[in-house]
């Protein structure tokens, strides 16, 4: 009995002590002040120096949290127990969030730097008039390959080149239903927003034929594995490819001409925001050309900010792999919100493909 009691007291003292230390640390870091801005973003998707700069400029403290998929983010915001002031979802998710009434309309008067954004990327189908969202980055889905690991005769230019029998066990695919079915649809010259079951089944059957060439279907780990020369080819997003190419010079990226996906990650203010004023301040801060340029050079995705392009290293900006010319952009498609039923069908086909035996 005595031992029990002693343990209880020791544990409680420990807890109180830990609480105290924690509180001190929180205060010294400024996490628990009242003037905070909470940002909910993808992992590794913002230059930390910019956060420091924003803190210094505004005196606000910034809490930065990350998510790893649009769906995970949606759940946390829908749930309502959170108080994120800024989130950065992709376009199809923005559409969904608008439909579900989860976003606050933006006050464009508070965003003077909005004028820098390329008009090509404004007023798109998923958010007409940019009432709810401001472009943050955009990118494409393409093929990253390692020229040193592959046979010299192998040419990678079209989606169909992935089906080359010489590429046995060489390909990483990104673990995402729409990307994978999308490139298969594109290789068949169909739209990657198709809801036609026959076309989808044809795309899935074509993917089944790709299985001997596939090494793995993976997520963010692909970056590390490609850099470490684990496989010759990866199908992934342009920004991830850019990051890999910085770390491994043998890597290169192609955007197949048959078409591909173009995606946008936009900044939004969720309904749960506590500090709407600061959220606008932050969006405008990120729209400032010098900040957008710095962020783009750090992250590797393509910035929609025209004035920022002028400030950036011309070598990056003129790189047609990441800033493709208009003619190519026209062939790229934005994912449309196909509705629950069709998305479920995409997922089902993708799962079937993943379970397909070699």
């Amino acid at each position: 009995m005595k031992a029990l009691f002693q343990t209880l007291v020791v544990v409680l003292i420990l807890v109180v002590g830990l609480f105290f230390v924690n509180h001190r640390l929180n205060v010294s870091e400024g996490f628990s002040g009242s003037d905070t801005l909470t940002i909910y973003n993808w992992g590794d998707y913002l230059d930390p120096d910019l956060l420091a700069k924003f803190k210094e400029e505004t005196g606000l403290t910034v809490v930065y949290e990350t998510f790893d998929s649009n769906e995970a983010m949606l759940v946390k915001i829908e749930q309502g127990g959170t108080n994120y002031d800024i989130a950065v979802p992709s376009e199809y998710m923005i559409n969904k969030m608008i439909e579900e009434d989860l976003l606050l309309p933006l006050d464009h008067n508070k965003l003077p730097n909005l004028k820098h954004i390329d008009p090509r990327f404004m007023d798109l189908v998923f958010d007409p008039g940019n009432q709810y969202s401001i472009p943050y980055f955009w990118g494409t889905v393409g093929i990253v390959y390692n020229s040193e690991l592959l046979d010299e005769n192998i040419v990678l230019e079209h989606w169909d080149d992935l089906w080359n029998p010489k590429l046995e066990n060489e390909i990483f695919l990104v673990d995402s239903a729409r990307e994978v079915l999308g490139f298969s649809l594109n290789s068949l010259h169909h739209s990657l927003n198709t809801t036609d079951k026959e076309k989808l089944i044809a795309a899935k059957e074509k993917l089944d034929l790709l299985t001997p060439n596939i090494k793995a279907i993976i997520g963010d780990e692909m970056k590390l594995l490609m850099v470490n020369n684990e496989a010759g080819i990866g199908v992934t997003w342009s920004g991830d490819a850019a990051e890999m190419m910085w770390d491994n010079e043998a890597l290169d990226y192609v955007l197949p001409p048959e078409g591909s996906n173009i995606f946008f990650d936009n900044m939004v203010i969720p309904k749960t925001a506590k500090n709407v004023e600061a959220a606008h301040q932050f969006i405008d801060f990120m729209l400032r050309p010098e900040n957008a340029a710095q962020n783009a050079e750090y992250i590797g995705y393509s910035t929609p900010n025209l004035s920022a392009l002028e400030l950036m290293d011309p070598e990056i900006v003129n790189d047609e792999r990441f800033y493709p010319p208009d003619a190519v952009v026209e062939r790229l498609e934005v994912y449309e919100n196909l509705g629950k039923r069709n998305l479920a069908y995409y997922n089902e086909l993708f799962l079937e493909f993943k379970m397909h035996r070699k």
Binding site: L25, E29, Q79
Partner: protein, 266 residues
């Protein structure tokens, strides 16, 4: 004990090697100045220094400890009461139903528990963060404590209680002076089990964290997704060393106790 043959020894060594090799691999590379796990360049303590400067991570470690200690204490108290109640139930059918209900919670996958807590907290309107994590940890630790305490209660001879009653002990005396001292090894075991379960829980916590609150398991997961930082290795090394120290301490502590207990009894 029979002496181990050469084959058995070799088998044992291989098994332990397989179990520990990944951990030592991680530890080895936590000292690598190369910045990745593909080739060892030279020895450095940079990642340990980075760790000490990473206040956010320290806060998260402390959060994890607070949650583990508090949930272990609360669930131990509740679990002991639960075990007492189950033992008191006279009807066999009822008793086995209660036990089965308790065991279902242990067996059911963390993902399901986590998801259902998320739904519950949403309906009730509890903010995700410290409270939600604490509540869910307490909840999944209680059945474990019950399971650890129950055998001790069942093996206790009822004549002990009867004797105490005959000698004029009140109900409270019986509980505090007879039953609880008798089952205290079970209570300690339950406490430590709850502590470890809470410390390393990932799935449930993953569902119910939010608002800047995070525990170590969840944080390591999101760090690992981003890739290559060897800070994770450094952190793993420190946790591993602490675990080894704690296990050794518990071992020495219990060994001394057992010796003492042995002499008293004989």
């Amino acid at each position: 004990m029979r002496k181990l043959g050469l084959l058995s020894k070799a088998y044992l060594v291989i098994v332990f090697f397989i179990l520990y090799a990944p951990i030592f691999y991680l530890i080895y590379y936590s000292f690598n100045s190369g910045g990745n796990m593909s080739g060892f360049e030279s020895f450095t303590l940079d990642y340990y220094r980075d760790l000490t400067e990473n206040t956010r991570l320290i806060i998260i470690v402390i959060n994890t400890l607070i949650i583990a200690l508090l949930s272990a204490v609360i669930s131990t108290i509740l679990g002991v009461f639960g075990a007492l109640a189950i033992v008191e139930v006279k009807r066999n059918r009822m008793k086995s139903t209660l036990l089965a209900l308790n065991n279902v919670l242990i067996v059911s996958p963390d993902v399901i528990i986590g998801a259902s807590f998320l739904i519950l907290f949403t309906i009730v309107g509890i903010q995700l963060g410290f409270t939600s994590v604490l509540l869910s940890h307490v909840a999944f630790c209680i059945p474990i404590v019950v399971i650890m305490v129950l055998p001790k209660l069942q093996e206790m001879s009822p004549s002990l209680v009867d004797a105490a009653r005959d000698l004029g002990a009140t109900k409270r005396d019986v509980l505090m002076k007879v039953i609880i001292p008798y089952i205290s090894p079970g209570i300690f075991a339950g406490f430590f089990m709850a502590l470890t379960y809470s410390l390393d829980d990932f799935a449930v916590t993953f569902f119910v964290t939010g608002n800047g609150f995070s525990t170590l398991a969840v944080e390591i997961y999101s760090m690992a997704r981003m890739g290559i930082s060897l800070e994770i290795n450094a952190l793993t090394t420190i946790i591993f060393i602490i675990t080894v120290i704690v296990v050794l301490a518990v071992y020495i502590f219990t060994r001394d106790k057992r010796k003492k207990g042995g002499t008293v009894r004989s």
